[in-house]
């Protein structure tokens, strides 16, 4: 039975499941590094998912849908940026407001556009990037089957997430932008004194997190599920926040932590297929990612310290 569980398919599924979490988590990392907490990742992802589905349905072109999802994410993030940077709002509360707004707005538009709640019609999906030949029999074929299955079977945004993680990691530690970004979250006053615009830097970071969480929503709808369902993000935005913490506020760490959560998700889905053999109710599998999130947070937090000024509004003095 173990051989039926440990298949290329399991690891491929882990990479897929990790992708929306990783994109949102990297967005959260950039945002928090600039000193702004983004609880609204969940709502941004949901809005992105809806925009992606609606525009793909309207235009028939999934790539236009992806673009719409990113723009919708940026739009919601702009509201968050305005509230938390310019109005110096309580960032956690305003983020919560936006999460509920996303739930209400997507549900409202769903009924307005399609006349019913629940799930949209299927959308045109983005296909895997490579079309692969069937591997030959024998040992070589087996190795090829694993390589192709795990690494080469994916859709474009799955690869994009890996590239984004690498680039963001490099940018955060090797470029002037990254140094400035980190300064904003650690000591905004000092950054301001040496001439870095705190407002502009934080605005850019929050908008970037919106774009990434929006892209996460697009991946969910256009590459994974194939339709939009109300509240389909199901807490992924919050798990992404935990992945960001587990990854110690670094893009690469966020990606790896997301991979762990993605693997847990892939495993629970896989195990559900063996329900006949394992006498455990499916709800216990479904709660696994959430339980794992709590365990991970309990295990690492004491040793992981976030940016010093995160969550504190900055007032120009």
């Amino acid at each position: 039975m173990l051989g039926d569980i440990i298949t290329p398919d399991l690891f491929a599924s882990a990479l897929r499941m990790a992708t929306p979490l990783a994109l949102a988590a990297i967005g959260g990392t950039i945002c928090e590094r600039s000193g702004v907490v983004n609880i609204a990742l969940e709502g941004i992802m949901l809005t992105g998912a809806f925009a992606g589905a609606a525009i793909t349905l309207a235009t028939g072109n999934p790539w236009v849908g992806v673009l719409a999802a990113v723009l919708a994410g940026v739009a919601i993030a702009a509201i968050h940026a305005f509230a938390s940077i310019n109005l110096r709002a309580d960032q956690v509360v305003s983020g919560t407001g936006l999460n509920i707004l996303a739930l209400g707005l997507t549900g409202f538009l769903m009924e307005r556009l399609y006349g019913h709640p629940g799930t949209t019609d299927p959308v045109k999906m983005i296909r895997p990037l490579f079309s692969l030949p069937k591997p030959p029999e024998g040992f070589v074929g087996e190795v090829l089957r694993w390589v192709e299955g795990v690494f080469l079977s994916h859709t474009p945004i799955v690869y994009a997430a890996i590239v984004i993680a690498v680039v963001a990691q490099w940018a955060m530690y090797k470029t002037r932008w990254g140094l400035r970004l980190r300064a904003l979250g650690e000591h905004p006053k000092a950054a301001d004194t040496v001439g870095i615009s705190v407002y502009r830097g934080r605005w850019a970071a929050v908008l970037m997190s919106g774009a990434l969480a929006g892209l996460a929503g697009a991946n969910l709808v256009i590459e994974q599920v194939g339709s939009f369902t109300e509240n389909m993000t199901n807490g992924r935005g919050f798990i992404a926040l935990a992945a960001n913490i587990f990854g110690r506020w670094t893009p690469a760490g966020s990606y790896l932590a997301s991979l762990l959560f993605g693997f847990a998700d892939a495993l629970q889905i896989k195990l559900q297929m063996f329900r006949g053999q394992i006498d455990i109710p499916p709800q216990f599998f479904l709660m696994l990612p959430y339980v794992l999130t709590v365990i991970v947070l309990a295990g690492v937090i004491g040793r992981a310290v976030g940016p010093a000024a995160v969550g504190q509004p900055y007032e120009k003095g």
Binding site: I39, I79, A83, L87, R88, A89, D90, V92, V93, S94, T96, G97, L98, N99, I100, L101, L103, G104, L105, G107, F108, L109, E111, R112, P117, N234, G235, F238, I239, L241, A242, I245, P281, Q283, F284, L286, M287, Y290, V291, T293, V294, L297, A298, I301, G302
Partner: protein, 375 residues
């Protein structure tokens, strides 16, 4: 215009009330305004929607009963969120504690079916409080000991609670039959409807007492609102809660244990949210099933914010959101506007109160204008 430091008119008690309630009231009005614009832009008749909303929430004694019915759990979740906020804690997972409280009430209501109401009712309420508190305990402990953010942990516990309930109602606690739900709780453990207290003759003479589904839970909720207010105002427990909310470092220096206060605060918050689940089970559904709460835990955040975290302010705030919730069905039916608009308005209220400085700025501007006109 330059700032002028002229003598302000004497402060009267009602003026402080206006100042305190001003921002929430303006936020609610602005949110309803934006909601109307959204309806108008989407091609719906906003006036018809609000007329239907009013009809379904306050238009008849029966509608008023529905408003009370919806306001009851919201008072509890509002109190829960407000109590945590007063200690600087954001219990975003009241929904999960509500599920566990409802589960405890549903279980005890069946197990204690033979008990007289005088024993069964308090037993169920206490059981729900214990379950809610227990569900908040792990997030509380993680927050107090290692600083794990309660927003993430209580949210995760909400998902876990929902899956536990959804497992129990198809598994071990499933009632016979097709529908995934538990057995009905004993009659002695049910909260009676308000109108059942009056004789037919009385109802005939005073028809406004025909409050339909409105049940006695509202009085339990009012009792707890006053109790929480007294606790916060007059007890050491409440004082420590507020002190840690104002300034944890100063509290620690003054000899208050911040970790202990955090644990107590989140557990009390959880207990209050558990009661919300209990009244839904005892007064409305008489059993538990998957979807027995329509997001009361999350609406409780809006209730607490509109109340500015004041336990007595929670009463009108819960009635407001209860009315919106009760009227939204009629609105969908008669004006054909999706119920979700109520969720949008609720979100806008939360957002606007978070960004209160805008609202304050707006009020101050109006006050200045009024002052300028008066001169």
């Amino acid at each position: 215009m330059s700032e002028t430091h002229e003598a302000l008119p004497e402060q009267k008690p009602w003026m402080t009330l206006v100042q305190r309630a001003g921002a929430p009231v303006v936020s609610v009005l602005v949110a309803i305004g934006i909601g109307s614009v959204i309806m108008w832009v989407s091609g719906y008749d906003a006036m018809a929607a609000f007329a239907a909303l009013f009809k379904g929430s306050l238009g008849s004694p029966k509608a008023l009963g529905d408003t009370l019915l919806r306001a009851t759990p919201l008072m509890f979740t509002g109190l829960a969120v407000a109590y945590g906020f007063r200690a600087g804690l954001f219990n975003i997972g009241a929904e999960g504690q509500l599920f566990m409280g409802g589960l405890a009430a549903a279980y005890l209501g069946v197990a204690l079916a033979g008990w007289p109401p005088a024993l069964a009712l308090p037993a169920l309420l206490l059981g729900a409080m214990a379950a809610g508190a227990a569900w908040a305990f792990v997030p509380a402990l993680l927050k107090a000991r290692i600083g794990a953010h309660e927003v993430i942990t209580t949210m995760m516990f909400t998902y876990i609670a929902k899956y536990i309930v959804s497992w129990l109602v198809v598994g071990p606690l499933k009632a016979p039959g097709q529908i995934p739900q538990t057995n009905m709780i004993g009659v002695s453990a049910q909260l009676p409807r308000i109108q059942s207290l009056f004789s037919d003759a009385t109802l005939e003479a005073l028809p406004f007492l025909r409050l339909g589904r409105g049940h006695m839970g509202i009085f339990v909720a009012l009792f707890f609102a006053v109790a929480v207010w007294l606790v916060l105002k007059y007890t050491t427990l409440g004082y420590e809660n507020r002190a840690v909310g104002y300034n944890p470092w100063a509290s620690e220096n003054a000899g208050i244990s911040v970790p202990a206060t955090i644990i107590k605060s989140l557990c009390i918050s959880g207990a209050l949210a558990g009661l919300a689940g209990a009244v839904e089970v005892m007064g409305v559904h008489h059993r538990i099933f998957d979807q027995f709460s329509s997001g009361f835990g999350f609406t409780g955040i809006a209730v607490a914010l509109v109340a500015k975290n004041h336990p007595l302010g929670v009463i009108p705030a819960a009635l407001l959101f209860g009315a919106m919730s009760a009227g939204s069905g009629t609105m969908q039916l008669e004006a054909d506007v999706p119920q979700k608009i109520v969720l949008i308005i609720q979100a806008l209220v939360i957002f606007l109160i978070a960004a209160e400085s805008v609202v304050q700025w707006f009020i101050q501007k109006r006050q200045k204008e009024a002052l300028a006109r008066a001169r």
